[in-house]
């Protein structure tokens, strides 16, 4: 009963179990998820390689990436994400190129002969050349792709050899695009690889009693910098970032933190669990979206470190700065229907805040790559009758728009322009519009963007209105135009 087969899905009935309409009497029903997309669908999902390069490793500021692929995967892996970085390094030095992670991507540009004869030699030469081109790099990361997965190149062996030869870490990420149903698999492999090969391999220059790792925070549009500010003001030191504005060495120091905070619980719980298991470092799941979650979680962290007072100060200061403005936006946004089509967990992070703090009506949530746990949380957090969709495709979104007419959709660039064509505003929730969106000020930014989009004057201008009494003008006594009509036409 709670599953829903969209009209547009009647030819692909396997989609029914991916779509759930919340029904309070039925909270244990498990949706299908983390399965391969139905062929021929317009899905928003990315591939396994995207989950590694595009999310986790690409945020690190001081490494060179060599994508072992025909040119496309290299091109698409370059400079596409919004994770800025600052050139400061853990040892106090400055990295010589600003936003190095945004500026460069390298690849092996595989050709037909490489496919036939194997690409390992080319990979080796390419990594050597990359080191020559960027001798200041801290490490080099090599990424497997569909092609190199299928032709069987042993990139682990090549990287091991090069690590010795070059004297810097050369790390292999075995993430061929096809190796899982979505980018989520890429997150997992990368967590494992980093844990196995990096964590514990180096010691931090210094430690404090308030060292934490901020895990699963990629600094999208500066999110991490917001949290870093709060935590620093509380007296907490981020020893290691995984992986926004991070450095290769920081990842290696992760075993030395006193507490691990897991921000994106879809893409990064893996490494927190592995660290806890091996090194005994506890981890806690944190949520900083919205003022309430942010305050709650800062308090929790403060409590852990006996910094309760400091936490309260930070909360008071930064919550205070946004309270009044948020009231204005709450008034404006109250009752507006909103969809949250996130990559992963934002659909459950944001559903209650949008309702409670902004008065909005969340009528649908969806995710490209969530797993059971995430959907369970969504079910808990949306209200009766709301629709939950796993791996939605374009036709489904179109049907939802037509039948439900949301006031705004939080989604990615692929849904954004489609929504527009139906007259529905949309803001980019993966990479943001005018972020950051986290923390107190971030939530205000989100509210502003929601407001600016929903109240965009163009939505009132969509149709040309012909002069309504145009036809009757012909009947006027005067051969010239009736003056009154002309007045009315203005």
């Amino acid at each position: 009963m709670p599953f829903k087969l969209f009209d547009v899905d009647k030819e692909i009935p396997e989609r029914e179990k991916h779509v759930y309409v919340k029904h309070c009497g039925d909270s244990d029903t498990e949706m299908d998820c983390n399965k391969s997309t139905v062929p021929g669908c317009m899905s928003e999902r990315g591939c396994v390689y995207a989950g590694s390069k595009g999310v986790i490793t690409g945020a690190i500021k001081d490494v060179v990436h060599v994508v072992h692929s025909p040119v496309g995967c290299t091109t698409y892996g370059g400079g596409a994400k919004r994770y800025p970085s600052r050139p400061n390094m853990p040892d106090g030095t400055t990295f010589p190129v600003e936003n190095f992670n945004l500026k460069y991507v390298c690849g092996t540009d595989l050709k037909e002969s490489d496919v036939v004869f194997g690409g390992m030699k080319k990979l080796k030469q390419s990594v050597q050349e990359a080191y020559k081109e960027f001798p200041f790099t801290t490490a080099i990361y090599c990424h497997a792709t569909c092609t190199t997965g299928l032709i069987g190149d042993d990139i682990d062996a090549v990287c091991k050899e090069l690590t010795e030869e070059l004297g810097i870490d050369v790390i292999a990420y075995n993430t061929p695009g096809f190796a899982g149903p979505s980018q989520s698999k890429g997150h997992h492999i990368t967590n494992d690889t980093m844990f196995d090969q990096l964590v514990g391999s180096k010691e931090p220059p210094k430690t404090t009693d308030y060292d934490i790792c901020l895990i699963g925070e990629y600094n999208i549009d500066g999110d991490l910098w917001v949290l870093e500010k709060y935590l620093n003001e509380m007296g907490i030191n981020i020893l290691s970032r995984f992986s926004g504005d991070s450095t290769h060495n920081e990842i290696c120091y992760m075993h030395k933190s006193k507490l691990n905070l897991v921000r994106c619980q879809r893409s990064a719980t893996y490494i927190a669990e592995l660290i806890e298991e091996k090194y005994g470092t506890p981890y806690i799941n944190v949520d900083f979206f919205s003022t309430e979650y942010c305050a709650d979680n800062l308090r929790m962290i403060g409590k852990y470190f006996n910094l309760e007072e400091e936490a309260e100060k930070v909360i008071e200061k930064y919550h205070g700065e946004v309270k009044e403005e948020l009231e204005f936006y709450k008034e404006k946004l109250s009752g507006k229907k909103v969809y949250i089509f996130s990559g992963g967990p934002k659909s459950w992070h944001l559903s209650i805040p949008l309702e409670k703090e902004l008065g909005m009506d969340v009528t649908a949530v969806a995710s490209q790559f969530e797993h059971e746990g995430g959907y369970k949380k969504m079910k808990e957090r949306v209200k009766e009758g709301a629709t939950i969709v796993d791996d939605p495709n374009s036709l489904e979104l179109e049907e939802m728009i037509k039948t439900d007419r949301p006031d705004i959709i939080l989604a990615g660039i692929k849904e954004k322009y489609l929504a527009y064509k139906y007259g529905v505003p949309s803001i980019m929730i993966h990479s943001y519009e005018n972020g950051p969106y986290i923390g107190f000020e971030g939530f205000l930014n989100l509210a502003k963007d929601l407001y600016a989009n929903i109240y965009n004057p163009i939505w009132d201008l969509l149709e040309f209105d012909s002069f309504p009494q145009k036809e009757s003008a012909k009947d006027g006594q005067n051969e010239k135009v009736d003056k009154e009509l002309m007045e009315a036409g203005k």
Partner: protein, 466 residues
Amino acid sequence: MSGVNVINRERNLIVNPLKTCQPLGAMYAVIGVSRGIPMVHGSQGCSSFVRYHLARHFREPVEIAVSSLHEAAAVFGGRKNINSGIKNIAIRYKPDLIGAITTCSSEIIGDDVFGFVDTTNKELAELSKEKQEYAGVEKVKVVPIPTPSFVGTHYSGYGVAVNSIIQTVTEINDEENGKVNIIPGLLNPGDVKELKHILNSLNVGHIMLTDVSDAFDGPLRPSIQETPFYPKGGVTVDEIKNASSSSGTISICKYASQGAKTLESTHNVPAITDDLAPIGIKGTDQFLRNIQVLTDCEVPEKLLDERGLTLDMMADVSARYLHGRKVAIFGDPSLTTGLARLISELSMEVVMVCSGADEKSFPEDMELVAKESGQNIDVLQEQDLRAVEVYVKENDIDILIGNSDARFISYDTGIPLIRFGYPVYDRVGYHSQPILGYRGAKRMTELITNAVLEKYYEEKHWKLQQ
């Protein structure tokens, strides 16, 4: 004295590519067909990366289906993925054409896309009979497009796709239609619209193979937007069928000429494929002459006036502000050569051009531009944006012309970057304006001159007072 100095990439490593893989070009071509849907046979990234990449350039919906190739297909082959994917689209979308586009993975696992499509066509025919609601699905043209990512570039992928569409769709037809077929290449909507404007002004009918001008630059009119979403416009399957009856085919970009040659060899439609793109005065003149050769049309006063308006602006600004300024251009091999010619017409010095593709015509055409204008030009062949960066930092360059990926070079050096080509995502409106044709030349002249005025004249602002 004048000529080119071809400089090839010496690294194996590619750094910041100026190209991408074949499937993107193929999807681009299929989107130019009215009610045409590209289905890429590969993993999720093969569709989602391209959708992202195209959407951020055009700021338009980019609907691309994927066959969802995963481990099972890698082991057992992708026949099921293609077949069910095509059927899924055919039934749910009722399109006129589906492009079945291969990738690196599907090619490596040995999938026979031609065979699979044959099977699928049969299955569609059966489906059509089976159920009334499926009636007509057998009419969907399914075009197999073999575009392994480890061969060529997105440019060649475009050429392959257009050729596949022509081979699959065009029908034998004896009656002449008096039209001209145009294969545009990877042009922006503004450029395709400009070509259509020229042809309409010449009163010459055309079949655009294919036509992305509305799909990638469509109006926002929710009240008439149907579901499933199809973009406005595109060349119809019927028009493509009829391309065999045209007076000739002109391929604007060199990498797109394969389809023109197919039409010539199969249907005796004369192909014009050897000219530089119609950019700037000479290039556009030649395009008009080519149309005249094919259709014997008159060039109307209206177009001569447009030409004159462009010249008028060039006269106003070229010797005065632009003469001798050093320009580096990088991007599409065919558009870069054409643009280099316009830059020469503007009295500027083309110091370096770079293409990420390995197009033989690129250095050849640059040789022509160099000879015509008496310049020495460094031609970076099959190079990347890192090569451009190093070159620009080591040489004296006043103006960069290329895509948004080069913005960091501009930030670092302070050299203005005129956005050109693909992708342009850090400025808006570029894709809907032409660089082709007389009006495109005027627009480029405007953009370049205003960049020069801002960068090189504001420090001596009294010179701006005239």
